[in-house]
């Protein structure tokens, strides 16, 4: 029975010092502490009660998701609220929402890695995991939202006797390539980071089964410096590749809208606006997950208050970016003098969906402003609540973009109000079930913190005294 309380008594400040000491501290045994506190989670015979409760709930919703998809496939897309003119309803809203969330992980690992942001090491591992699970949820929606799910494979350029190829002018097809590429690369990136830690777990494994499984996935890693050399090089390359990729993916997703000529969609600001939104929502989700996780698994000395505060700063910054985008959109609509464009934005803010618009604004633009105060930035409950708000707000942002633009476009004769059905709702909740099921499994069985990397940024990891760029 592992001891989760090992390091709990320490204050956040003290924990902070462990990783980012003011000046040189002696202590190679710290390496072992890291290993210990991370591995102990997976080695424990029983997870904390909270884990079982959470897992139970998650699996239930996963089941609901399965049921909904079955109902959908056997009956038809009509089980959702989609109609004319709102041909894209919640499924696409959810897709964009999840893809957005799926951005923080790679961003944290890749971009911050390139910028040598040492503090990333505490959170990058499960941020990456989160990315992968979010992208799985995201990828699911476009797949199930089509009318004939059983021929979805036609979107891939598979040679066939009729020479029927996909249409590469379609943003949806770009999406297919972007999202699948993104998923693949994120997976590789994540797994590559995992290997040395898996080796650690292999070497600590007591039972034969564990030895076997961890051993198999550790690929026989033995920490040879020659391996490390190429490993680091490859990791750097992947990071360098993932960075533009991460920016491209949400840009491409935004093309789904920007390329069309629908008022409210047809706008050039979308790519940067979507990317900012993605980072925003991604970090919010990281926060939503990190707070309970560090509590639950006693990783406070690895995911420290300093990490959280930095995340909050990012949230606030991107939140303001998003707010700027909202403003610019509206401004351009007015400035363009296009009556259809103009109407769309008036309609968003004051039309039948005003309620959604204002939820979006208050959650995304107003709520993060509280982080101007250091107290708020460092208060666990506040940051948790704000992160939840932001998640909600970002979902509504996508709802506003998709539904309010569609429900009133050019011809008033086809204007119609979109009303979701219970199936819509349960499917969305189900996708959360899927996400948390995967995430909880990850927390339980895999190293949630990149041990090798954390060790790497510890002062003791450096031959010639403390490296000053590390604790900026």
């Amino acid at each position: 029975m592992a001891d989760f309380t090992a390091v709990k008594e320490l204050t956040d400040a003290q924990l902070d010092d462990l990783v980012h000491p003011p000046q040189l501290v002696q202590g190679t045994e710290k390496f072992h502490d890291i290993t210990e506190s991370v591995c102990v989670v997976a080695e424990a015979h029983r997870a904390p009660k909270a884990w079982y409760v959470a897992f139970g709930i998650a699996v239930t919703f996963l089941g609901i998701l399965g049921a909904m998809i079955f109902h959908l496939v056997t009956t038809g897309v009509g089980v959702w609220g989609n109609n004319q003119p709102v041909a894209w309803g919640w499924p696409i809203v959810n897709f964009v929402f999840w893809v957005g969330i799926g951005h923080a992980g790679t961003l944290i690992s890749a971009v911050l890695f390139l910028f040598r942001q040492g503090w990333r090491t505490g959170i990058n591992r499960f941020a990456e995991a989160m990315t992968i699970f979010a992208v799985i949820c995201a990828g699911m929606f476009p797949a199930i939202h089509v009318g004939r799910i059983w021929v979805i494979y036609w979107v891939f350029p598979i040679p066939n006797q009729m020479d029927m190829w996909p249409n590469f002018r379609s943003p949806l097809l770009w999406d297919v390539f972007a999202v699948s590429t993104y998923f693949t690369v994120s997976l590789l990136f994540w797994y590559m980071g995992l290997v040395p830690d898996l080796a650690t777990q292999r070497d600590r494994a007591k039972t034969k089964l564990r030895k076997m499984l961890y051993g198999a996935f550790a690929l026989g890693w033995n920490g040879s410096n020659r391996q490390w050399h190429r490993y680091e090089r490859a990791y750097l390359i992947l990071a360098a590749l993932a960075t533009p990729l991460v920016l491209s993916v949400h840009s491409v997703v935004s093309f789904d809208f920007a390329i069309s000529q629908l008022p409210g969609w047809h706008t050039t600001i979308f790519p940067p606006y979507f990317v900012a939104g993605a980072i925003f929502s991604g970090f919010a989700m990281v926060m939503t997950l990190a707070v309970p996780a560090r509590q639950l698994f006693g990783l406070k000395h690895l995911i420290t208050m300093r990490h959280l505060e930095l995340i909050n700063k990012v949230i606030m910054a991107t939140g303001m970016l998003v707010g700027y985008a909202y403003a610019m959109e509206a401004f351009m609509a007015w400035y363009s003098g296009n009556k259809y464009e103009g109407f769309t934005f008036v309609n968003r803010a004051f039309g039948p969906y005003a309620w959604a618009y204002w939820i979006m604004v208050s959650c995304n633009v107003i709520s993060p402003q509280i982080f101007w105060f250091k107290k708020a930035r460092r208060s666990i409950p506040i940051m948790f609540i704000v992160s939840i708000f932001v998640n909600i707000g970002m979902w509504f942002e996508r709802f506003v973009i998709v539904v309010t633009s569609l429900n009133r476009d050019f011809l008033p004769s086809s204007w119609n109000y979109f009303t979701p059905t219970i199936v819509d709702l349960l499917t969305l909740m189900g996708s959360f079930g899927l996400f948390f099921t995967l995430f909880l499994l990850f927390c339980r069985w895999l190293p949630q913190v990149a041990m090798a990397e954390v060790k790497n940024v510890m002062p003791a990891a450096h031959a010639h005294g403390p490296d000053h760029e590390e604790d900026q």
Partner: protein, 1028 residues
Amino acid sequence: MSSLERSESTRTYWRSLQHLENSPEYQEMVAKEFPAGPETNWTDSSRRRFLQIMGASLALSTASSCRWQKETLAPFADRPENWVPGKPRHYATSMEVAGVGQALVVTSYDGRPTKIEGNKNHPASLGATSSFAQAGTLGVYDPDRSRGVLSLAGGKETPSDWKNFTAFAKVEFAALKASQGEGLAIIAPLTSSPSLRAAQESFMAAFPKAQWVNWDATARSQELAGTEILFGKAARPVYDLAKADVVLILDEDLLGTHPDALRNSRGYAARRKPEVGKMSRVWSVESNHSLTGGISDHRLPLRSSQIGAFLVALESEMIQQGRFKVPEGKAIAKGAPKGGFLAEAKAANFITALASDLLSAKKNSLIAVGNNQPAEVIARAHRLNILLGSVGTTVTYKDVSTLSTVDINQVQALAASMKKGAVKTVVTLGGNPVYDMPGDLGFAEAFGKVKTRIHLGQYFDETGVASTWHLPQAHFLESWSDNLTWDGTWTLAQPTLNPLWGGRSAADVIGILLNQEDSHESRVRKVWAAAFGDGETAWRKAVQLGIGGASVFADLTARPKNLALPDATPATMAVWKAGAALEVSFAIDASVHDGRFANSGWLQELPDPMTKLTWDNGALMAPSTADALGVTTGSMMTFTVDGRNQDIAVYVMPGHAKGAVTLPMGYGRTEAGHVAGLSADRVTPAGFDVYPLRGSHALGFTLATAKATGEDYLLVSTQDHHLVDEIGMKGRGDRLGDLVRTGDLSKWEEHPDFAQHQVHHPPLISLWEEHKYEGHRWAMSIDLSTCTGCSSCTIACQAENNIPVVGKSEVFKGREMAWIRMDRYFIGDDPDEAEATHQPVSCQQCENAPCEQVCPVAATTHSSEGLNDMVYNRCIGTRYCANNCPYKVRRFNFFNNNLVVEEEGAEVLALGKNPEVTVRSRGVMEKCTYCVQRIQASRYEATLEKREIQDGDITPACAQVCPTNAIHFGDLNDDTSVVKADHANDRAYAMLGELNNKPRTAFLARIRNPHPSLVKHDSHPKDAIKHG
């Protein structure tokens, strides 16, 4: 800027009342996040109304196995002469509605009727058809049709057959013969069929004491009575709008539900194209806001009871303006009604302008009056025609004294004697009297008192259920017949299908009752031969053309001696005030007529041209009236006429006369079938039955009281599925001038191409060299100036293209499937004075189609002839194309809407599907194809005949059915084509052309011809529409 132009700009467009409303409770409704409604997704799929969504079971695949289905060919062992399998053949035939024939041509595929068109060679059709005729193919294959003889003796249904019935009839009628038909009554639907008339005579000869009563809820008896006052004999006015400069239409839907609407529309259209001769000016005075009212240049909403007074006022005004005399002399001018509604400026100006217009037009004027009016008013109206000398030019009166008519006194007498039990045997030869008799007769109860009740009908309907014998009636596509069209043309009907369920025609049944065995064909031919002389070749020609001979009605040319009329009974002049009794008038419904077409899914889902309601009727009333009564669209009200109650949902109808309520007939059927209502299967009736409120003494209109019940009912229309708030209303106002481009005649004369300069946009330049279309360039043009909004195109398209019916709750969700929808907008600042305008919108076949580039699998691409093809089999259903379509004309199969065909007993529906158009399955997108199957057919034909396709070879279903020829189709690369000329027309504009999507469908701006003295003046320059 001239006052006329400014008058243009005063238009605030809006589509239904809510848009002018700002009441707080209404705002709150709008603010509701998810308004209530039949939003229950899967629960209502379990409902047994079979054309609604089917359950999950079969949804995935229609084939039982996962292998290709084995298909077997079943050819004829001995192929009939001149018969090529799969090559459609066309049979001329006709149908009869309310005693008026409609000339048709049936497309028969492998011997099965699959489509109905108008008979080009027939003066009453000219190639166009009514919606009812269009729905005929669905009617003949309706799974709900009665499938055999039923004996209901002792209240329990026992399947029987014709043999049994014949045996029964032998005995029963032998007895009756003995008593010369004492206690025998026949209730026959009104018919003009000479052969049936002959049968009736021979029957009456055999049973002299029998009562033969004709009944039809929509019979135009008042008109006959009115003309009788004038001419001394029943006459029928046949109008020729093509010759009329000024048309005055009194309380009549001349282009909508009038029996001769097709030809009237054609005539109207002939005078509404500014570039073609002098435009006519249409004035209408009516209670309901009818289709005809919607297209007229000036419209005065008046209660039906005030039309009489209006007429007198008009006459006296004409006298005052001089050059006009009436037999009563100047006296009438003095005794003319004053005050009341006449005191209102609008009415006064209207009458002054109208009078001068009529006087200047003289014999080129035309006054038409509705059958709802009292005989005296009708007489007065037609007298005006005579006095203006327009008889012979714009209107001809036909002597119809020989036609069978509906005599309401007979009907009352029959009901009475039935009640007394004096009637022992009653035979209903089709029709549904138990349902559609006036409420005050208590007919159902009286009917029950008769011992033997024999019912012939296509459906086991209300009357069938109440009978002791039910006999299946043959559909008009299944039987020989003959009838007379409105103008009296002798029209023949040949069967195109043997009776599916062993049905027989009324004449056959009379034959059985008389115990004679000659076939209906021989009867028809005998009567025809008697009239026109026999001869094999002549007969074959007549049958083939469907025309037996010219009009059999004599023209009444002689001017009646005495034209003096008794003083018009002083009608209520008062303008309606809240609290006063309401005036309810009964109207023929555009979708189900008097209820006889109620069980047609196509017709039920066809939006009413004006209300856009589907699956329901409603109590139509003016906005101000509704406000006064404190109700709005959807509120239930209890209407009471002489103690007879009925609950009906209110529909607020802009432009309706104040204090009047219009009740469309034909809904609330309880025994119609799985579409319109069937008590046995707990299928709730569609709409509300208004017959209980109808009185046999006041078939047209009567006084009623109404009280809100406080309940709400969901009325579903294809526009404004939900309330539109103020912002929506504003946005709509800003743009509609650009979508539906409209101008007064004077404006058009000043600059004919105003429509092309309506919208300012940068030059439409392309980044790349665009595709050149060699060969054909198919295109369409729609003339908004002649389009009346009758919506026949919608249903013709549905019939041609196997478009599924989705049911009320799906329509509510906005999932209706119509490929061509009729957009209807109300115009005007005052909801009570609203004018309507229509715009048919189908796929515009854009050359730079926005839908194409976004499809990931290239399921929609352009053909080399510029058609925006939709490849159903390639479609995976991302619905992206629908999002990117600025016209929102793409329709998605959210469910498998055709599963009904696999339902027990519904397989018969598959027989009627057009085999040349794919039946779309679930999950694919669909839309207008310009009837590509017809293009291909003509192409093959041309190829076989080694020639080029000529202009006019190809007619899409919508163009073919259009009564006003507003839709043209052809090849833009053919310089001689009509469509090319239309596209070159000054009025031609591309809707949303500023998107540079290059639509192939051009709209021709609507030109109105208001009287100069009545042109409104600018009130809100802010909404001014920019001019080029």
